[in-house]
């Protein structure tokens, strides 16, 4: 286990470094002059130079890159103050430390993605298993058909409909908003329930189908038959033996889907006017704020890596063969 963690940490660090490099050099390669963007309307050449210096744009590219990356580990000093590690630089635009900005926005994205994740895993796997259990029945048809239709929709299409029906027309619910979980768990849930459910809907369908298919497949497995031959009840066999195995493909796909989840978060944030990492990414890209973009990309990758490690731990938990090898 210890070795596993070490290996994963090293791998993650390398990945993050590479992603940082790709992001940085792509960004720098773009034909935009960040200093003149930050310079504003009354931009004299001297001022431009000053801004260049202030933003560190006068330094050679590799120095800029190294400063940024090393800042993550040891922190950096800016004219406006010390930026403690992990320092993702200082926004060209707002002058805030990117890490602080991300930390301010991240709880929302985390709530949204993890909330949606829980919803779609529960609903998706639940519906899929139910469909497999009652294979061929009305329940099965509704679950599979419904999931198909819903998966063809989009967040930016379902979102406004949900808002219109639940908020604007009827007033049943309040406008989506973020309340910190630690402050008011119920408010947190209520405030984000519409975005979470809408976002989850898009993913649910896929997982319903997958859960159903892999459950049906598992039911045909010999060890499941063995369990029945032992006289274990159908339910027991279904929910113990078959279920366990059916989770593996689901977890695999989940690992691949995590970055899509983050993308879903972006669209959801935009659709519901919420302020999370996704909006930050859009702002960073649009305002050509290199540190912000770098920070968000790295943080996004970090988030994906963490969730991937969790997925692998889940793997090991589900399948003892993985655990020991």
């Amino acid at each position: 286990m210890f070795q596993f963690i070490i290996r994963r940490t090293v791998g993650a660090a390398v990945t993050l470094f590479l992603i940082g490099a790709v992001t940085f050099f792509l960004f720098v390669a773009a034909p935009s002059d960040y200093a003149s963007l930050a310079c504003g309307k009354d931009c004299s050449p001297t001022r431009l130079e000053e801004i260049r210096t202030a933003l560190g744009l006068n330094l050679p590219l590799h120095t800029q890159f190294w400063d940024f990356m090393s800042g993550i580990v040891v922190g950096r000093d800016f004219p406006t103050g010390h930026c403690p590690a992990p320092c993702l630089g200082q926004s060209f635009y707002s002058g805030e430390f990117v890490w602080d900005t991300i930390m301010d926005r991240f709880p929302l994205t985390l709530s949204l993605t993890v909330g949606a994740l829980i919803v779609f895993l529960f609903v998706g796997i639940g519906a899929g298993m139910l469909a497999a259990f009652k294979r061929g029945s009305m329940v099965d048809k509704v679950a599979t058909g419904g999931s198909m239709v819903l998966s063809s929709f989009q967040i930016y299409f379902l979102g406004p409909i949900a808002l219109t029906v639940l908020v604007y027309q009827t007033g049943w619910m309040e406008d989506p908003k973020y309340v910190p979980f630690t402050q008011d768990p119920l408010g947190w849930l209520v405030g984000l329930s519409i975005p979470m459910v809408v976002m989850a809907t898009i993913f649910t369908a896929q997982y319903t189908r997958m859960a159903r298919a892999s459950m049906i497949e598992q039911l045909a497995e010999e060890h499941v038959r063995t369990a029945r031959a032992k006289g274990m009840s159908q339910k027991y066999v279904f929910f113990r033996y078959a279920w366990r195995g059916s989770l593996i493909p689901i977890v695999t796909v989940l690992g691949i889907d995590i970055s899509a989840l983050l993308g879903g978060g972006v669209v959801t944030e935009l659709t519901f006017s919420l302020q999370g990492i996704g909006r930050l990414a859009v702002n960073g890209a649009v305002t050509k704020d290199l540190p912000l973009t770098m920070g968000v990309m790295l943080f996004g990758a970090f988030f994906i890596l963490i969730l991937n490690i969790l997925v692998d731990i889940a793997y090991a938990y589900i399948d003892p063969r993985v655990r020991l090898s």
Binding site: S32, D33, S36, L37, C39, G40, K41, D42, C43, S44, T46, R47, E50, P79, T80, Y93, S94, G95, E96, T101, D104, R105, Y156, G159, P160, I161, L163, T164, V165, V167, Y168, Q169, G171, E174, D175, L270, T271, F272, S273, L274, Q275, R279, L280, V282, N283, V286, T287, K288
Partner: protein
């Protein structure tokens, strides 16, 4: 300059249109005429373009006149799509910052509107709108008693001097430059490089503070507009002791009725009452509500949807500088109950297709384009009749000297473009000159404009090379002197109701520089002569001179084809009281809002 919108607002391109989904599609849309409204708007515009009066000490004495029915308490929700680019008053030039500044900061003077179109400049920190002498070359201001900042420090003339002098510092770069230029010339920064933070100050021959309560400005030519200049949010006072230079931009010290309790850049801001603000010293602002909650990142379409629905917290909400999403205008205007909650009026902006005169040298081409462009389709992209009106000339309806019937290119008669006329003009023009590079911001709005421009100009035989420019840097890109484009759409609005704030910045040859709003790079001696003349004239004479300049620019030079005037349509929640349009800001007047319950 009052640029059309903040950079970030321009930059945030993603607009997700939301809408309530009631299927109304099966009923026939016969089209309703909003022509009546349009005429009403024209009349209102005439009111809006009344010249500003200068208020005396009596008019400048607080407290402000009570808003009928106003009651205290409650918190107003403020929706805004993009975050604020600045909170340092010295950096504030654009409207969103201006709106916030009206709640937080006080300057020497301020605008006071009577709601009937009359606008006066009154003393804010000063006892009156200013006393001029020496033919308008010297202006003297006396500070009111008992004006304190949020920390309880009394505002003195030293603070005013500091406010002016810090504008010379390098870290102030986005704010207005009128006052500095008038005091120290175009290269004003060299006059006081450290911005007065050291021992060096402006000489008393320029800016004098004979005692703690008196400030005297000395100019080398008459500056009759100074009271209006000083009313700009960019000249809001910055108390010297608590100035933190660059850091001030996120944590400024308040002198107005509210102060910042919490600010998360780009996300949220909470304003609470500033207990050190004394209503008796302020003739304009009120302090009815307990505070304002600014919610940034709420897209215009979400703002509109929420306010139309008017549920829950949205009842207490206003739009700061956002307007009704263009796709949802009909839902607002078509519903009497919702329409009641709107604020309408002309904005000061004239949208024009500016030519790069260094590249498009053939006036016939410019003329043909001016005849050929389709204002109507462009306006359609802005939301139709409520988004804008066809602009026949370069003066907005809010500008004193606005001429509604002055229409040299027949825009009013053929708003969709006079194709025949344009073709005729282009008859003898060689093909090479008929290829024009059109730059547009790569945003949703920019793309829409591109479609309309390309469509219209290709009809008259112009080959348009549409070149997208990154939305965030659009202004910078087309503002470059050596830009590779032939034409681009820019909007311009007055800084205060005087043609001087329009003609000077955008058509004065002296202003041609990188990043200057003189996007057409126009440098015409005749115009410069007229500008010089008008700037020193008394208002009535100046009006005639400006008019002459206007006609000359549009007919003889044609640096840009007028396209449309922008209009304001904002919505507020049903529990908001005292809402009215501010002709000065062209948005909802935030100083007099209260909650009905």
């Amino acid at each position: 300059m009052k640029s059309f919108n903040s950079r970030r607002a321009r930059a945030i391109m993603v607009v997700i249109a939301t809408g309530s989904l009631v299927l109304t599609g099966c009923s026939e849309n016969k089209g309703s005429s909003s022509g009546k409204d349009s005429k009403k708007d024209q009349a209102e515009a005439a009111v809006q373009s009344k010249p500003v009066t200068y208020g005396d000490a009596a008019a400048s004495t607080g407290p402000a006149e009570e808003v009928p029915g106003a009651k205290p308490g409650g918190t107003i929700e403020v929706y805004q799509e993009a975050g604020l680019s600045h909170l340092d008053p010295g950096q504030i030039y654009v409207s969103d910052g201006g709106q916030v500044a009206n709640l937080l900061f006080r300057g020497l003077t301020n605008f006071e509107e009577d709601g009937k179109g009359g606008t006066a400049v009154v003393g804010d920190l000063a006892t009156d709108s200013g006393k001029s002498s020496d033919g308008g070359k010297t202006w003297t201001y006396t500070l009111k008693d008992g004006v304190k900042d949020q920390n309880g420090n009394v505002i003195t003339s030293a603070d005013i001097r500091h406010t002016v002098e810090r504008q010379y510092a390098e870290f102030i770069f986005d704010g207005p430059t009128y006052l500095q230029t008038w005091l120290s010339g175009p290269k004003y920064r060299t006059a006081l490089p450290d911005g007065g933070f050291g021992d060096k100050h402006l000489p008393a021959t320029v800016l004098d503070t004979p005692d703690a309560k008196t400030v005297v400005f000395h100019f080398d030519s008459p500056r009759p507009d100074l009271p209006q200049t000083l009313a700009m949010p960019g000249y809001g006072v910055v108390p010297e002791k608590t100035d933190t230079k660059a850091k001030y931009d996120t944590a400024p010290v308040s002198t107005g009725p509210y102060k910042i309790a919490e600010y998360k850049a780009g996300k949220s801001m909470k304003l609470v009452k500033n207990t050190n603000w004394d209503p008796k010293t302020d003739s304009v602002r009120h302090q009815y509500v307990d505070g304002f909650n600014f919610d940034f990142g709420v897209t215009e379409s979400t703002q509109t949807s929420r306010l139309i629905a008017d549920q829950g917290a949205s009842k207490n909400a206003i739009q700061l500088t956002g307007s009704v999403e263009s796709t949802q205008i009909q839902d607002v205007v078509g519903n009497a109950a919702v329409n009641k909650r709107t604020i309408k009026g002309y904005q000061p902006y004239v949208m024009a297709l500016n030519f790069n005169l260094d590249r498009v040298k053939n006036k016939a081409v410019r003329e043909a384009v001016a005849y050929g462009v389709n204002s109507k389709s462009l306006i359609a992209g802005e939301g139709g009749a409520y988004g804008g009106d066809v602009a026949p000339n370069l003066f907005a309806p809010t500008l004193p000297g606005y001429e509604p019937t002055y229409d040299p290119y027949g825009r009013l008669k053929t708003p969709q473009g006079n194709i025949a006329k344009a073709k005729e003009i282009l008859k003898d023009v060689p093909a090479a000159e008929k290829k024009l590079v059109f730059a547009y911001a790569n945003s949703e709005a920019g793309q829409k404009r591109k479609v309309a421009i390309v469509d219209a100009l290709s009809k008259i035989g112009i080959e348009v090379v549409a070149k997208e420019v990154d939305a965030a840097s659009y202004s910078e890109q087309v503002g470059k002197l050596k830009n590779p484009y032939d034409m681009y759409i820019n909007g311009w609005g007055q800084d205060w109701p005087s043609p001087g704030t329009v003609v000077t910045p955008i058509y004065d040859g002296d202003q041609v520089a990188d990043g200057s709003p003189n996007y057409s790079h126009m440098n015409d001696p005749e115009v410069q002569k007229l500008i010089k003349k008008a700037l020193t004239q008394e208002p009535t004479e100046a009006a005639a001179t400006w008019r002459e300049a206007h006609h000359y620019i549009l007919e003889k030079v044609l640096p840009g084809a007028p396209l449309w005037y922008t209009k304001q349509l904002q919505l507020y929640g049903s529990n908001i009281g005292g809402a009215r349009y501010s002709a000065e800001s062209s948005y909802i007047d935030v100083t007099r809002l209260f909650l009905k319950s």
